[in-house]
């Protein structure tokens, strides 16, 4: 029972981070129909930028976070404007490949400036443990779940309530109709990338706090694919469900069966979902016409 509870907490916190990473991915896909293979590298850049501000420049936590957000905004805008916008309307292969190229460049930049060694970063979240139903679980994992929940809630409130959020939903629904209503599709595209970079920053910083500031953070990005396929490529609630399911599944499999199998089980789920229900749990089914 103890194992079960701690596995559940680990799974939920992993899942919460996956949901955050997947949120950015879904935002980009929803608004611009781009599959962003560089999502993991966005996490990586976010984590390293926060590390630079917090540890290297010795800024207080709040300022360091603001610095990270600033860099994320610049990154999002620059990437959208100079890399993705020229490719609007191009074939899916080109768009996928350009994000793959982007991921190689971002990873290489981090490697050039910071090397491959693991960087020391003092813990941001409290490191103690807490008793939950008889099991000892680390406090920081619980806090991560809380933060992720707040951020996800804030994002969905943004989409439901704010002007820009509604504009984004309109563009996702029908670009041409949105254009005729006077919505700037270009601005929405930029906004989608910026928000994705910011959610990736949050996920990256939290992930670095749970593990370490290192290149491996980028690998976390690949796990986004099973999550978004499970939840539906264009569904924000889907990322939460998908993230939590994949996070829990990985922890249970690695705890009760085989840690190696845990790495591949999300992909097996992915294939199964693709065969049975390609548009995921909450995804929108599209009818194709010639």
């Amino acid at each position: 029972m103890n194992t079960f509870i701690s596995l559940t907490v680990y799974g939920l916190s992993d899942g919460a981070l996956l949901a955050l990473a997947a949120l950015g991915f879904v935002l980009i896909y929803k608004a611009t129909r781009v599959i962003n293979f560089a999502q993991g590298e966005f996490l990586l850049v976010g984590a390293y930028m926060f590390y630079t501000a917090f540890v290297v420049m010795r800024l207080p936590l709040i300022l360091a976070a603001l610095f990270g957000v600033l860099v994320a905004i610049v990154l999002g805008v620059v990437v959208e404007r100079f890399v993705l916008r020229p490719l609007i309307g191009e074939h899916a292969i080109s768009v996928i490949m350009v994000t793959i190229g982007l991921s190689a460049v971002l990873k290489a930049l981090v490697q050039i400036f910071y090397g491959t060694a693991v960087r020391e970063q003092p813990p941001i979240l409290p490191t103690g443990t807490i008793q939950v139903a008889g099991a000892t679980v680390p406090l920081n994992r619980l806090i991560v779940i809380g933060i992720a929940a707040i951020v996800l809630f804030a994002f969905s409130a943004f989409f439901q309530r704010s002007r820009h959020g509604v504009a984004m939903r309109a563009v996702a629904d029908d670009q041409q109709a949105a254009l005729t209503m006077g919505i700037s599709v270009k601005r929405v595209f930029s906004l989608a990338w910026v928000l994705a970079a910011i959610s990736a920053l949050i996920a990256g910083v939290l992930l670095a706090d749970l593990s370490a500031v290192e290149q491996g953070i980028a690998g976390f990005g690949l796990m986004v694919f099973p999550v978004v396929i499970l939840g539906g490529l264009d569904s924000v609630p889907g990322t939460v469900v998908g993230g939590l399911v994949i996070g829990l599944l990985k922890q249970y499999v690695s705890g009760y069966a085989d840690p190696g199998l845990a790495e591949v089980i999300p992909y097996i789920v992915l294939v199964a979902i693709l065969i049975v229900r390609p548009y995921g749990i909450f995804g929108e089914t599209r009818i194709e016409r010639v």
Partner: protein, 352 residues
């Protein structure tokens, strides 16, 4: 035929020919001379790089059949290479089957695995298919890493030096002898692929790429075309994988990761999607890029010692930048650039 205003065909026979102009025959001859003289001109290091490029030519041609000609995105290239490599290595070393037959079995085996993982393509397209093939890559990698029977628990396979009948590769002449073998196979692969797209099957692949629903309406069996495309493409990739195994004489899973899939995709993007020549150019470009970069860093290294520590990161950066620049500036790749250069010369002094 060829005039200053372009190439005009008067008969179907002439249009179907692979080569139309004298200049094309001249370039073919020039290329043959270059290829035949290469082992006498290049030293061992560069010949080794050439051999790796020849193998990747086969793999890139295979991938281009699937991605460039049939329009099915695949991120599973690394996995299929692994299937070819492990199959041939195990069959030849443990069962004692002669290498040519083991390579043949590897090709068939990879084609079968490719067709199996191509099944999702029947329902999925574009982005979804890319993700499905990503999963196939990860699943194959998992099997290769975890299935101890494959490597007898060592984690890697050692492959005996290539031996066919009485002929064995000599240590001293290793690169040169491999060069001839790989050159012959690469040429064979290119010719087969080139001719594939002059047949009904090949044309049906292209019809599926251009508009699959319309293709079905005019009587192309999409199911068959897609699965065959996966099988044929994987067959080429399996050959490349098997050759990698016998050429490098060790098989480890590290050689077949997702990065390799991405590298091959980069080759066909840079070379030109939907062009056999493009796949060859791309393989050469991506094969030479790291080697040339190493040379450059060596030259600059004396004045900037920090540069050589950054070499691996620089390689990645240049790789990524090459992909992005090609996609933004010339999405149809080196093949298109080459065509434009030829046109420029042919029409000179006119613009077109």
């Amino acid at each position: 035929m060829a005039t200053a205003t372009g190439i005009h065909h008067r008969t179907y026979r002439s249009e179907l020919r692979l080569r139309h102009t004298k200049a094309e025959y001249f370039r073919l001859a020039l290329m043959l001379v270059l290829l035949l003289s290469a082992p006498y001109v290049l030293d061992k290091y560069w010949l080794g790089i050439t051999n790796v490029i020849l193998i990747s030519v086969i793999g890139a041609v295979g991938l281009n059949i699937l991605v460039g000609f049939t329009g099915q995105i695949s991120l599973g290239q690394g996995g299929f290479l692994a299937v070819g490599a492990f199959t041939s290595a195990i069959i030849s070393d443990r069962a004692g089957v002669p290498v040519p037959i083991s390579i043949l079995i590897a090709v068939v085996m990879t084609a079968a695995v490719g067709a199996f993982f191509g099944l999702p393509a029947l329902r999925l397209k574009g982005l979804y298919l890319a993700i499905a093939t990503l999963a196939s890559q990860e699943i194959i990698m998992f099997v290769v890493r975890r299935w101890e029977w494959l490597t007898e628990g060592k984690g890697f396979l050692e492959v005996k030096r290539l031996q066919v009948g009485g002929f064995e590769i000599e240590r001293r002449m290793f690169e040169v002898q491999w060069y001839w073998i790989l050159l012959a196979l690469a040429i064979l692969a290119v010719v087969v692929a080139r001719n594939l797209f002059r047949t009904t099957l090949g044309r049906s692949f292209m019809a599926v790429r251009d508009q699959d629903i319309a293709a079905e309406a005019i009587g192309v069996n999409i199911t068959r075309a897609k699965v065959t495309a996966f099988a044929v493409s994987s067959g080429f990739v399996g050959l490349a994988g098997a050759l990698t195994a016998h050429y490098t004489e060790t098989v480890t899973w590290e050689r077949f990761t997702l990065d390799v899939s991405v590298l091959y995709l980069a080759m066909i993007i840079v070379g030109g999607l939907g062009s056999i020549a493009g796949a060859v150019y791309g393989a050469i470009f991506m094969g030479l890029l790291p080697a040339l970069l190493t040379e450059l860093v060596d030259v600059l290294g004396s004045s900037m010692p920090a540069l050589s520590d950054q070499l691996p990161a620089l390689k990645n950066a240049v790789f990524g930048i090459a992909i992005i620049v090609f996609l933004l500036v010339e999405p149809r790749g080196l093949d298109r650039i080459w065509t434009r250069m030829k046109d420029y010369i042919r029409f000179w002094p006119f613009r077109y």
